[in-house]
Symmetry: C2
């Protein structure tokens, strides 16, 4: 309600509602107690202007419209911890850490797997250091929790390595895909993880049912043999409102020179 120095009306409306949410007046999951029409009357502006303000908040990921005609609702946050290192450690270092799809026994986990032979996208080809025209085996997984799509997990393998292996089988690989690679004579020795964030593409919005104002994290994983040959590249698309990625580091790991710094 408090108007500041000559900012557009729609921003003021957004700021007021944002403040109310931050203050706790409208708790997560609750409905915003005013309709567009009410707000238009209250601020004495047109509905279009109110809408512009509300749309801004939607694009911040702060509120959303769950279903047509049910009003604007404050988004609640419930993130799952993703722990790339969890798989190759005997037990968790930090007690508070979760492991994916393990401590959510009450929820119905599921995944859809499809296998294709494809020409890799340029970035994948570069990571795998493939010659132009070289093909890859792509294992696409869409994972769900309670029938809600949760993340996308696309693993690319050089065709030469994967062609006659169990990687071509579009069913869950209980052993882990690294075991299959090992059977083929490729032992994974080290890995590179990268994470970036952007807004989702329309395809991702479709596939993951991402609503407006939610970014995605792109978490990439490249696996190498001891002589630094890349043998796999995995691209994870993680809706930002559902995931946290966590890593651990220890001073006495090899290659450390004793310093453990916060820089950057």
């Amino acid at each position: 309600m408090t108007r500041q120095t000559s900012s557009p009306v729609y921003r003021q409306i957004a700021a007021d509602i944002r403040a109310a949410i931050t203050r706790g007046d409208y708790p997560p999951g609750s409905r915003i107690p005013h309709t567009e029409l009410e707000l238009a009357q209250r601020y004495n502006v047109s509905r279009a202007t109110v809408r512009q303000g509300l749309t801004a908040l939607v694009n911040e990921g702060l509120i959303y419209v769950p279903a047509r005609s049910s009003g604007y609702q404050v988004r609640s946050i419930n993130k799952m911890v993703l722990r790339p290192q969890a798989e190759w450690r005997e037990q968790p270092e930090t007690p508070a850490m979760d492991r994916f799809m393990t401590d959510h026994a009450d929820r119905k986990a599921d995944q859809a797997i499809a296998v294709e032979i494809v020409a890799p996208p340029p970035d994948v080809a570069e990571q795998l250091r493939l010659a132009p025209g070289e093909l890859t085996v792509l294992r696409r997984r869409t994972r769900s929790l309670d029938d809600q799509p949760f993340n996308i997990n696309d693993s690319y393998f050089p065709y030469a390595i994967a062609k006659d292996s169990a990687l071509m089988d579009p069913s869950d690989i209980a052993l882990g895909t690294s075991e299959i690679l090992l059977e083929q004579g490729f032992r994974m020795d080290h890995a590179l993880d990268t994470i970036e964030a952007r807004m989702p593409t329309p395809e991702e919005v479709e596939r993951l049912k991402i609503s407006a104002g939610i970014p995605v994290m792109i978490y990439r994983f490249t696996g190498f043999t001891a002589d630094d040959q890349p043998i796999r590249h995995t691209v994870n698309v993680l809706p930002g409102n559902l995931h946290i990625v966590a890593f651990e580091r220890k001073r006495n790991w090899p290659n450390g020179d004793g310093k453990l710094e916060d820089e950057a």
Copy 2:
């Protein structure tokens, strides 16, 4: 131009322009060769409808308006690799990897530092396992490159640990803040890194000059002593269009059981 099955006009407009960009018709950095008015005539709709479509693309981070009357422009991507592990390794494992503010000698790097004594936000208090009411020393850094704000780096230290140290000095600490902690008798032994993504708050938009459609990554770093006492917590806010975070892992690091898995 190709209309699909009964989707709103503004989405069609957005889809057409998105396709043209993806196809390479409008390369990164170039201007979209149509004004709002032209598009309105071309699609035979009102300017408001065209605007709705363009706004959608802006909120995807695909296009933006550099200055008031200069038209819509395709965003170009130029990301910097952030490598938390770089500081405690003698030399980079992977040749392709960068190190922050080191290989950009042609650019003017800068940072503004401020030190405050504050009550920590709840999440920081929890990470540092502080009792209610316990204070922290907060070192706020805003880093710039070519006078463009680049990221925010806020480090919290328990007041009891930092109070009489050089951490209170709001100037660059050449040695590294860990060295200061060591002088105080706290040797950092291991660390926890977490990364998540969301849309920026208005304060972050202001401080980092983030434009619409750009998410931020929140990269947190918590440092512990050998007996698992948390002695520092750093919160980095990284605009999604500028940063990639990278980690490396090796099979023969301690705690590894020989498996190195891709499972998200």
